[in-house]
């Protein structure tokens, strides 16, 4: 699997799609941070907040995350490099490497928002949350940044990044099955919103509440400024296990499927 991982990272380093997605998220995160400052100082009216919400991590990563899962998994089938990958490492290693690389890349999409919070707080400027996401709440929580607060921002950012990657990792088996990035993107985007509603409804049923809690879909796993270290570790553990399960599901789909 190490060989396949090294090969995937080599491809990733030259991937235009991955580069453009990261660039788009970085620019959007910067703009989002600045617009929330504009909302706070009144340069933007409160009515404009709904427009600003469109730049939030929730929307953008829900769109680009599934695309990246789709591209990373599907590309070897398009280029036929899957042929050599299977001869070299086998199907288990192929799926394992894709699971690790795609999840890490999707998790990376959240980082610019966390960096935006760190920079924004460091400027001691005023911010108003356009939408109550973890990043917006952290940004608006206060002015200035102590070392402890910076640590909290980093911890929440990393937890949120892994949680989001886990939530969208249902795209892994989808991508292995469909091998069409745009279809995966569309389904993944819808899923990211339906999943929250579904989890909320299922949590209302006593018998299913515990089950939902074992998934990254549970609302209680969302990191907020007041989350404890234990809360965040639990969220990370649940996310990692969920991603591993999605990797396993992908392998079960791929282990006996024909490659063209």
């Amino acid at each position: 699997m190490i060989n396949q991982l090294r090969a995937d990272l080599f491809v990733l380093g030259r991937s235009t799609t991955a580069g453009l997605c990261l660039l788009a998220v970085t620019l959007t995160a910067g703009l989002y941070t600045w617009l929330q400052h504009s909302l706070a100082v009144g340069a933007l009216s409160a009515n404009s907040a709904s427009g600003v919400q469109g730049l939030s991590d929730v929307l953008l990563i829900s769109l680009l995350g599934p695309l990246l899962y789709g591209v990373i998994v599907s590309q070897p089938f398009d280029t036929k490099s899957v042929h050599n990958a299977l001869l070299g490492s086998g199907r288990g290693a192929f799926v394992g490497a894709k699971t690790v690389v795609a999840s890490l890349l999707v998790a990376t999409l959240s980082l610019p928002y966390g960096i935006g919070v760190l920079v924004g707080r460091a400027t001691e400027a005023e911010f108003a949350p356009a939408i109550p996401t973890a990043f917006s709440l952290l940004l608006a929580e206060g002015r200035g940044l102590t070392a402890a607060e910076a640590g909290t921002v980093v911890a929440v950012t990393l937890t949120s990044a892994i949680l989001t990657a886990a939530k969208l990792s249902v795209c892994l088996p989808l991508a292995i099955w469909l091998k069409r990035p745009l279809v995966v993107m569309a389904i993944g985007f819808v899923w990211s919103f339906v999943a929250d509603l579904l989890a909320a409804r299922l949590s209302d049923v006593d018998a299913l509440q515990a089950l939902v809690r074992l998934t990254p879909l549970a609302a209680e796993h969302l990191p907020v400024p007041g989350s404890t270290g234990a809360d965040m570790l639990t969220a990370v553990a649940v996310s990692v296990v969920f991603i591993a399960l999605m990797g396993l599901a992908s392998w079960l789909i791929f282990r006996r499927s024909d490659v063209s």
Binding site: T79, N84, L87, S89
Partner: protein, 306 residues
């Protein structure tokens, strides 16, 4: 070390009711070049995919390198190199980067291999040119280089000369022969270009409608497709005497129907006629006969259809 590199037994692949590969049993031996001949849709690529572990058989077995296993194991697949349908290329990368990528995938640490393979397939001077800007022939050559990365013992090449110019075809032919002769690599190479395979392979597998119609060696194929001059005359004894006296050393075969075949004079009908007439033998018939590669192939695959 087993001499059998690949053995398939009753290998079958069905898609619904259609059998793409139907009960194929073949045996490939070390260091030989097997030409897989078949028209489009005959099952060549499907068979190659099954052998390479890219698809799974509906029935039957694939045994690699005398493993005794009915399915290709990972460590056996790692001893193969394949080029099936289209080369495995990243269009946005250079030839060198593509080789580097596949070297990482196959776990080959030898960095100098990149340059050696590029030299071998004549792409060393492509520099920073991206593969998406390569000609079809260049892509094919790079695909062959990628198939050679892990120093394979069994090389599976699906239509490797597609899109190559005449010089490229000769280069690939020479390369394949060298690999088999000097490195003992077994090559399974498919094509519907019969003359090309005739010049490359040492053994032939003729496949049609998913079934192996015939397997034969180069010598057997040559015997089956040999051209000869067929002579018929009223007095067969006199004809044979004249041939033996006037065409000394000429191999000749007297057929049951009273004709004489001259296998090494297929292109010398005029001089043979002149010789016979000068010896007062007036042939009733003198014609170049024998099957061409194409007619032989058609007779093999057409047998069941008629």
């Amino acid at each position: 070390m087993s001499e059998d590199v690949l053995v398939t037994r009753d290998l079958t692949k069905r898609y619904g009711t259609h059998a793409a590969v139907d009960g194929v049993s073949i045996r490939l031996r070390r260091g030989r070049i097997y030409g897989l001949i078949g028209s489009n849709g005959a099952g060549k690529t499907s068979l190659m995919r099954l052998i390479s572990g890219l698809s799974f058989p509906t029935a039957g077995s694939v045994e690699l390198f005398g493993s005794g296993a009915a399915r290709p194991r990972q460590r056996d697949l790692a001893r193969m190199g394949i080029l099936i349908e289209t080369p495995s290329l990243h269009g946005g990368m250079t030839a060198r980067q593509n080789i580097h990528l596949h070297r990482l995938m196959r776990g080959v640490p030898d960095a100098a291999l990149d340059e050696r393979l590029l030299e071998l397939v004549g792409l060393a001077d492509t520099g920073t040119k991206r593969v998406r800007n390569f000609s079809l022939g260049m892509r094919q050559r790079l695909g062959i280089a990628l198939a050679l990365i892990a120093d394979p013992e069994l090389l599976v090449l699906d239509e490797p000369v597609n899109g190559l110019d005449p010089l490229g075809v000769v280069e690939v032919r020479t390369l394949v022969r060298d690999l088999a002769r000097e490195h003992g690599i077994t090559v399974l190479i498919s094509s519907h270009n019969l003359p090309e395979l005739f010049q490359t392979a040492t053994d032939y597998i003729i496949i049609d409608a998913g079934q192996v119609r015939m397997t034969l060696t180069l010598a057997e194929l040559e015997a089956r497709t040999q051209q000869y001059l067929e002579v018929a005359a009223g007095d067969i004894r006199h004809l044979v005497t004249v041939i033996e006296q006037e065409l000394p050393g000429a191999e000749h075969v007297v057929m049951p129907d009273g004709t004489v075949r001259l296998p090494h004079h297929a292109d010398e009908s005029e001089s043979v006629l002149r010789t016979l007439v000068a010896a007062d033998v007036w042939p009733q018939r003198l014609a170049r006969e024998g099957e061409t590669l194409e007619s032989f192939f058609l007779s093999v695959i057409g047998g069941d259809r008629s």
